[in-house]
């Protein structure tokens, strides 16, 4: 592929897959996190039913992120996963519990309370582990001879705990705003009340992580505060303010779709902020996307298919969402 910077293209595609995962499974996991606050019975059934047809597709983006990283940046995959080993295992085990709960809670009404707890606990653990993984990457990973060279608890720090909680709260906001869109009656009112509190929580968390990141180490602060880059980077916090204001306004006015879109906007801006901080590193402070990139033969072979298939995936995913559009309805059983 002449003239095309394959490494950069693949960094963008992996970034897109991770972003797609975060927003799509984000609202799924968020519903799991909020699940105990909904009343047993109709409210919980509605919440579950609103994601039952789509959660599997949402989670596929996580597999895409992992598989894509292995294909396009094998060195990064080979460093990050051992470096965050306990987090990865905890996330996978959490995803197992919440994944099976979708079917099992219907199959076994006698143990529905147990599977509801499994759904929540699994979602909490997965969200926390994902947020802490983000923190562990941002704070830097010890690398020697192209391999992870730190201990097996290096990822644990006040900063990674902060990012873990931030992602947890953010996912819960996504979940609450999704339920505002998809439910009605008492579930809707409950979701609105939760969303107002979670919006405040998400903004506080976003501010705390943003405030801590530039002072972590390395050159993060340069990217954010030095001229002329600041002219561009300053737009990110500005847009965050616009999104947040619209979110609060739409919640107060009782809009049912706008809050979810604004919550997505906040995540998108947070993601752009991360990109600004990280680029060109994929494993800071040692490995850039160029160091980690697979050979051109691998990148071009996969890109040839990806540029055709990814738009197709987006099309039929959109169709599947369209089929199940509208409010969930109150009757779970037929």
């Amino acid at each position: 592929m002449m003239g095309l910077d394959l490494t950069l293209v693949w960094a963008a595609i992996i970034g897109f897959a991770v972003m797609a995962y975060v927003v799509m499974d984000g609202f799924d996991l968020g519903i799991g996190i909020l699940f105990p606050t909904f009343k047993v019975g109709e409210e919980r059934d509605q919440a579950m039913n609103s994601i039952a047809p789509v959660w599997d597709g949402n989670e596929t983006w996580l597999v895409m992120g992992g598989g894509g990283l292995l294909a396009a940046f094998p060195l990064a995959y080979a460093i990050i996963l051992p470096a965050t080993y306990p987090l990865m295992i905890a996330m996978l085990l959490g995803l197992i519990f919440r994944g099976v709960a979708f079917e099992f809670r219907w199959r076994d009404p006698g143990h529905r309370a147990f599977w509801d707890v499994a759904f929540t606990a699994g979602s909490l653990v997965a969200a926390l582990a994902q947020g802490m993984t983000l923190g562990a990457i941002l704070q830097g990973i010890t690398v020697k001879n192209n391999a992870y060279a730190g201990g097996w608890l290096d990822w644990l720090s006040p900063f990674s705990l902060l990012t873990g909680i931030a992602v947890l709260v953010g996912y819960a906001l996504l979940g609450a705003t999704w339920l505002i869109w998809k439910t009605e009656g008492s579930s809707l009112r409950h979701a609105q009340a939760m969303a107002r509190r979670l919006a405040v929580g998400t903004l506080v968390a976003l501010a705390a992580v943003s405030a801590a990141t530039p002072y972590l180490a390395y050159e993060y602060w340069r990217r954010w505060f030095e001229m002329p880059g600041v002219l561009l980077t300053a737009q990110v916090p500005l847009l965050v303010v616009v999104c947040a204001a619209t979110l609060f306004w739409s919640l107060r006015r009782g809009h049912e779709r706008l809050p979810f879109l604004m919550a997505l906007g906040l995540f998108l801006l947070g993601f752009v902020g991360l990109g600004v901080s990280l680029y060109p590193y994929i494993v800071p402070p040692a490995v850039t996307i160029r160091d980690a990139a697979a050979p051109e033969e691998s990148l071009s072979f996969l890109l040839a298919g990806a540029i055709i298939i990814i738009p197709l995936i987006l099309a039929y995913t959109a169709w599947a969402y369209w089929v199940f559009r509208g409010k969930v309805g109150t009757h779970g059983y037929h």
Partner: protein, 469 residues
């Protein structure tokens, strides 16, 4: 306590445990997806309610199986990095794109259409719903193709070069995908998934026939499953034979370990039916063997010479006793399946397919046989690849992540506990679903999520139950 353990052994144990558990579910869902495709197709073609009922009956089971396959599969996509990071870094440029293509062309396809397949019967038209079922079935087959391509490259690597960093760099993607063992392994594995499903479906049908011979759903599913057994079990034995000849050509040490042939047989090798392999002494103790049959099977010539394991350095040997036994379990089950298939043909000829209780009992006993055979076959080919991850090129001991033994041991224990709780419960729910006889007016999956949003429910879905049965 745990630090005394070898991290390589622990990492292998963890991969073996997670992949074996995972493989059970796709082996079933590949077959079930195709079966559902056939059932819905027959229903649309004939309009007979029995097919619609069976579709809904097995759809509920499929939903549980598929869910467990998804969550155990997500684990696999991260196992390569968490536990085999050196393998990932070195072989990632070759196997990574193949696995990414599996996600792009198969996983998204299955997941995207699964929601409509499970919950969309009243939301989209019949044709569109059948299309969704077809896409899910197609997705399972595409998935099998890519992952078998990855595995086959690791068994019989070709089409790559090795750069100065020791990384495998793709040279020819056609050669990487279509390696020497790929077509044999793909055919053998997909047929295995179909047979596994046929015997599971057959056992459920037989179970209900034992209780009520007149149940039309039980009769139909038993008959369909027995046709599969009778027609496909012999094909599988032939495919397995061809696969074995191919392995002998490219991985002779693996086949010699499977056969228990420690010593060379210049005048034709016997077939060792049973015995206790002893690698220390390089002999099979208490061997029960049939002369010349080994060469006849492997070379299709009773007097053809065969080498022995002792012709190869010991550090190239896989763990002989494991592959020796796993291979025998697989083959024995394959012939037992053939036996059931032939018995069912005879029963059909005598007009007693639905009345012959001992056939039904045998079919119930054989219900799990496919799962056992699939795992045994997988153990044979994977343990037989040892001591390499990429055969002949990258040793397993050199592929593992730089992790401390306690971390790997702790995660292994966590996986074992979680899998037994989650998948143990799932297996119990499956058994409960299967224990319920198929009924007229079979219900849909219970959590139909949403009321129709502007689409008229497809009226035909429930109508045919009133018509011809």
């Amino acid at each position: 306590m745990l630090s005394g353990l070898d991290p390589v052994v622990l990492a292998r144990a963890q991969f073996a445990f997670t992949i074996s558990f995972h493989f059970i579910f796709p082996a079933f869902s590949i077959g079930l997806a195709s079966y559902l495709f056939v059932l819905e197709g027959l229903w649309l073609k004939t309009g007979r309610g029995v097919y619609a009922n069976l579709y809904r009956y097995w759809l509920k089971i499929f939903a549980v199986v598929f869910g467990m396959g998804v969550v155990s599969g997500v684990v696999m996509s991260y196992q390569f990095g968490t536990n085999w990071s050196v393998f990932s870094q070195k072989a990632g440029p070759v196997v990574g794109p193949l696995m990414a293509y599996e996600v792009l062309t198969a996983f998204f396809l299955e997941a995207g259409f699964l929601g409509v397949m499970l919950f969309g019967m009243n939301k989209v038209g019949k044709g569109l719903h059948f299309f969704a079922t077809s896409m899910v079935a197609l997705g399972t087959l595409i998935s099998a193709t890519w992952i078998i391509a990855v595995n086959s490259w690791m068994q019989t690597p070709a089409g790559h070069s090795i750069n100065e960093a020791g990384q495998f760099v793709p040279a020819s993607w056609v050669q990487i995908i279509f390696t020497a063992s790929f077509p044999y392994r793909l055919v053998h594995t997909v047929i295995a998934a179909y047979l596994t499903t046929a015997f599971a479906v057959g056992a459920v049908g037989a179970w209900h026939l034992l209780k009520d011979r007149a149940n039309p759903g039980a009769r139909k599913m038993f008959s369909m499953a027995m046709w599969m057994a009778a027609l496909v079990a012999p094909v599988q034995i032939l495919a397995g034979d061809a696969h074995g000849l191919n392995t002998l050509e490219h991985q002779p040490v693996k086949v010699l370990a499977m056969e228990g042939d420690y010593r060379a047989s210049p005048d034709g090798a016997p077939l060792i039916v049973f015995g206790l392999p002893d690698s220390e002494a390089a002999e099979v103790r208490y061997a029960l063997s049939l002369p010349y049959l080994g060469s006849l099977i492997l070379k299709h010539d009773p007097f053809a010479p065969l080498p022995g394991l002792t012709d190869f350095p010991r550090e190239e040997w896989p763990p002989v006793h494991i592959v020796f036994w796993s291979f025998r379990i697989m083959v024995a089950l394959g012939f037992a399946m053939l036996g059931i298939g032939l018995w069912s043909l005879f029963a059909r000829y005598r007009g007693r397919l639905y009345e012959w209780s001992s056939l039904h009992r045998a079919a119930v006993v054989m219900g799990p046989s496919g799962f056992v055979a699939v795992i045994a076959g997988w153990v044979t080919t994977e343990v037989g690849r040892q001591p390499y991850t990429v055969y002949g090129l990258l040793r397993t001991a050199d592929s593992v992540s730089p992790l401390a033994a306690p971390a790997v041991a702790a995660s292994l224990i966590a996986f074992i506990v979680v899998y037994f709780v989650a998948f143990g419960a799932g297996t119990y729910y499956l058994a409960r679903l299967m224990a319920r006889p198929p009924e007229r007016g079979e219900s849909e999956p219970p959590n139909l999520p949403q009321r129709a949003a502007g689409i008229t429910p497809a009226s035909g879905v429930s109508a045919p139950f009133a018509t011809k049965e």
